[in-house]
Symmetry: C2
Subunit: 639 residues, 2 copies
């Protein structure tokens, strides 16, 4: 295994890696370029895996998420910036101020590839700048620069200004926070090139470090990064062929993602009775036909597979859809999206079926740098509080915050972004904090896990999603793993009401997701057209790493998941945190195919722990950690 590395202590450029980690300490202004250690790369591959290693080993137990000791890590994977289809991802990792847990959020676009082409696999941000700064990277030149002059600006303007400021022979690429992140609002995210690394409040961490943006320009080429170009090209060709022929990912065969974007699944999810409506009170939205994929494509999105679309770098799927609002009071607003998650949380979950209002609410989430999923979820929670008279207009700045009020939705998002009034901060810090402030039993229907709002799949209509949400490493996440396709869209014919087999499904899928997508730098959406094994077939020639077989590759995913689990355990999270809101565990789904269901978490969680090799409290056992080569974790968890 890893025979290429016998003679090398560090990963060299041309092995799927740039070979260098950039370390920037904002307190001391030290800038270091560290060779990427081969042992680490062997064990954790890249992106999420690598970042988990650094965060675990470099932060101390109990680190304050918004303190200078917390670290903020931007990391790419070995396929980022290569010719692998959709090899455009990077992740942002830190200890979340929203959940107190590990968080990794991922983004496409082109910032990740640009960082790699500049010569870096990732950046570790340490400390806290004395005043607002941004980091400017042009290949080997890295400087910390004054950001006072645009501190306060929205993300769109920030990107524009930095591109203009750093005009050169190649467009600079920008990842930044908006005013929400500057204010350390807990739902603040990082926006890069109008795409969001969305969940978990790392925008607040970036703000706490007085870091407004990272702008980068790189002159490397995708081809420079490959260990075995001939074999790699062969594997890439197979991947392209599969994606192109898939009824989901193939533009030429009118793939659903290409034609309708992520919103293509709304019909199916609503039909399955699992479309979160009015703060998860029901799983069917009676107005779904107004805002499902075909309606959006007809009335809001730019023409499908338009020659003008601007997809993520090197993406053959083309799921990006530009929305241009052509009528009504918001005419003229335009932005990429809204995605399925946005339409759900800002739409159905808030009872809103005004397409334009949903699109504008999403626009402003990007504008201010806010997680649209959590913002929508929190507004929905507050709408229910308002309808239940737990809050009144005196608490909402006079806004009539009832379900379905499209204007109220937009106003609430704008106030959250601006931090304005009483309503703004209530929305901007998430439903857990809001429930704590409101009290009066509201926590029962604050729909989050560990503080992170539940995304766009009603788990009572998909038991596996319930388990997925309850124990994912960053709180309620729909992507680690995404069992909704198998359970709700009939992709694999799995019964959504059944608990049997779900622990296994969640375990296996989480490990595969962690390695094949979240640690390689390739977009998860390729999974609609090809398998994790096809990704594996690209990773091998890209890195030159040798594996016995695919299962050894998946084991890296298991290692990564144990490491993030260990991080959370170290930070004090236990079984009691692996739970779901009262509503989902106790209140029966009132209608639809899964009518009468609650999430039977007790039937799945112990089995899941066992499959993972964790004890009854959800703590990774010494044996498991040892077997995965995580001895350095044992020391910290078992003293």
């Amino acid at each position: 295994m890893f025979s290429q590395f016998k003679e090398r202590k560090t990963v060299a450029k041309g092995y799927g890696f740039a070979g260098t980690i950039l370390r920037v300490n904002l307190s001391t202004k030290d800038i270091k370029k560290e060779p990427l250690n081969k042992e680490i790369a062997q064990k954790f591959l890249g992106a999420k895996g690598l970042a988990a290693y650094y965060l675990f080993t470099e932060t101390k137990k109990g680190v304050k998420p918004l303190g200078p000791e917390n670290k903020l890590i931007f990391m790419t994977g070995p396929l980022t910036g290569t010719r692998a289809p959709c090899g455009n991802r990077f992740c942002v990792c830190t200890k979340s101020p929203l959940t107190g847990s590990w968080v990794d959020s991922h983004s496409g676009g082109i910032w990740g590839p640009e960082l790699k082409w500049a010569g870096y696999d990732g950046i570790i941000i340490e400390g806290k700048a004395a005043g607002p700064v941004y980091i400017w990277i042009e290949d080997d030149k890295v400087t910390i620069r004054d950001a006072k002059w645009f501190w306060g600006a929205n993300t769109f303007t920030t990107e524009r200004l930095l591109k203009e400021k750093h005009v050169g022979n190649r467009m600079a690429r920008v990842a930044c926070i908006g005013p929400a992140g500057e204010r350390q609002a807990l739902l603040a995210n990082v926006i890069s090139e109008v795409r969001a690394a969305g969940r978990g409040g790392h925008g607040a961490v970036m703000g706490s470090k007085n870091l407004k943006a990272i702008a980068v320009r790189g002159h490397g080429k995708p081809g420079d990064l490959i260990a075995d170009p001939v074999k790699f090209d062969g594997a890439v060709k197979v991947a392209y062929d599969k994606l192109g022929k898939s009824p989901v990912t193939g533009p030429a065969v009118k793939g659903a993602l290409s034609i309708m974007g992520t919103s293509n699944i709304i019909r199916g999810i609503n039909a399955a009775g699992g479309w979160p409506t009015r703060n998860f009170q029901t799983g069917i939205f009676e107005k779904a036909s107004e805002i499902e994929g075909q309606a959006l494509t007809k009335y809001l999105y730019c023409p499908p597979v338009s020659p003008g679309m601007v997809p993520c770098w090197n993406c053959p799927i083309l799921c990006t859809h530009l929305s241009v609002i052509k009528k009504g009071k918001w005419a003229g607003f335009a932005d990429e999206g809204p995605e399925y998650e946005d339409v759900t949380l800002l739409g159905a979950t808030c009872g809103v079926f005004d397409r334009e209002a949903i699109a504008v609410a999403e626009y402003f989430c990007d504008f201010y740098g806010l997680d649209a999923i959590s913002i929508g979820g929190t507004i929905a929670f507050l709408m229910e509080c308002y309808e239940k008279k737990l809050i009144a207009q005196k608490d909402t700045d006079g806004i009539d915050l009832k379900f379905g009020n499209a204007d109220a939705l937009v106003q609430a998002v704008m106030r959250a972004g601006a931090g304005y009034g009483k309503l703004g901060p209530l929305v901007a810090n998430g439903s857990k904090k809001a429930a704590a402030k409101i009290g009066r039993g509201s926590a029962k229907f604050a729909i989050h896990v560990k503080g992170l709002e539940i995304p766009a799949y009603e788990p009572r209509a998909a038991q596996g999603m319930g388990l997925a949400y309850a124990r994912s490493d960053r709180g309620a996440c729909h992507l680690r793993p995404w069992t909704a396709g198998a359970e709700m869209l009939g992709l694999d014919g799995i019964n959504p009401k059944e608990t049997k087999g779900k622990a296994q499904l969640v375990k296996v899928s989480t490990d595969a997701t962690a390695i094949a997508f979240d640690s390689t730098g390739i977009c998860l959406f390729v999974a609609f057209g090809m398998g994790a094994d096809d990704v594996f077939n690209m990773v091998v020639p890209a890195t030159g790493f040798q594996y016995k077989d695919f299962s050894e590759f998946v084991t890296i995913g298991e290692r990564i998941n144990n490491l993030t689990r260990a991080f959370n355990t170290r930070e004090g999270l236990t079984k009691k945190d692996d739970t779901l809101p009262y509503r989902l565990l106790k209140e029966k789904l009132p209608s639809g195919p899964c009518k009468g269901q609650v999430v039977k978490l007790d039937k799945m969680l112990p089995e899941y722990y066992k499959l993972c090799g964790w004890d009854k409290t959800g703590k990774p056992t010494k044996n498991k950690l040892q077997a995965l080569g995580l001895d350095f974790v044992i020391n910290q968890l078992y003293g």
Copy 2:
């Protein structure tokens, strides 16, 4: 004279010109590159002058401004894109749908230089595309492209999308319209690189042609464009030295423009009793201290002369000020500006002293592609109608449109941009149309000339400005000429109440402005640090043109002004159109140093006509036209 051209029939690149005019017919899709004729260049120099020649000779009398026969001309001057300080201007010229007259509007930024570097002095747009298109220019490659996919988008998003779409080895530059222009709103303008070619509704003309944008990338170099580089460099050095030492334009000596931007003059203009307040009801705003230059610099603008400022290309003055709204409901909005004109018309003229609201109103003018001056003027007019109960909340979509209502201001701008409700179209088409619709004597206080709203200098406090407004070729313009400095700021100690000598001042200054600034491609603001003769000293080595003396140069300005005058005469404009609103002619200024004054236009206009060599109706005489070499005009005006 013009001895270099003896052997050349066309202007060659390297004589201050790119040497080529691009002609794009959107009806036929014909794209032609025409050599720039030396005779024309000799007679009209560039920018405004050249465009006036083309528009006059290529359109027929009575051409409908929004019909396919109207032409839309983008033109640079011989200093555009050269190393001349502030040599970054281009103009957009057409027959205005707002005034029915000639209009040229100018913009800085970098689009003009980029066009020149791509190899074109200007573009003549003809016809009308069958559907939404944009033009993409990369050096000699010019194509007409589909714009359906982003038709409807605001100008910021449009710029971003086209830059992304045309990523290359140099950032593409974009001039575009927003949704206002698409709807052919009469106050629609052209935005390029977040700067406005603002006045006269050419955005509507662009919209009428279904032309969303012109994106351009050029690989030429500034140095390529100069006839005599050594002499040119010497003249440029003199210009830089003068600008650098000026107390207005020198950043190093804390020049007022550099430190406070254009808003630096608010104090002085208000003190002179000439700051248009509440629709020109008074000339003093009691809240001026809240929004004058120093207050804006303290609370709104980015730090003065910040290292991060993004000025127009090759500008040593640095008047650009970024505003970042840091508090209140609009926190997070950020844009270049608001400029003096914006602060006046959206602020004092509407009775608004909320800095953030003014900045946001200006942001949305840019966002939708609207002329902020005319929008502010029209809203102020409607506010007066509302307070006089000529319109009510049923006409304003329920908005309480009283003077000083900052929220109403922003809402009115947004509705104008979106074309929404009853109020939107009322604002978006200007005060003349609004007054015609409202009737009931409102036209008496609709403050426009020929349909173009009067800008930020109260003419009862400066007789010369009154004359300037009344007879300028594009309606009420503050820049052809700008006598406000001489009359109101005491720059030349000229008595603002006096009418004597003003005709001469206006005549001479208009000719100098037309040639030295509006036709060379250099920013008018250099005039605060150097003279028109210094511009002349750069034009000569740039073009290689020989002149007897400076006065011969100014005569080109006179020729240009007679040509645009002749255009207006041909279109039916006469002395009756060279007038001012009732209020300014009949109602005495109620307070301030010029209390009791009205504009005594009758005392100045006949003298002005005489000085110009025009007859008593304001029509250029045959003799004058002949003397200026405008024989082709005589044929059209005198049959």
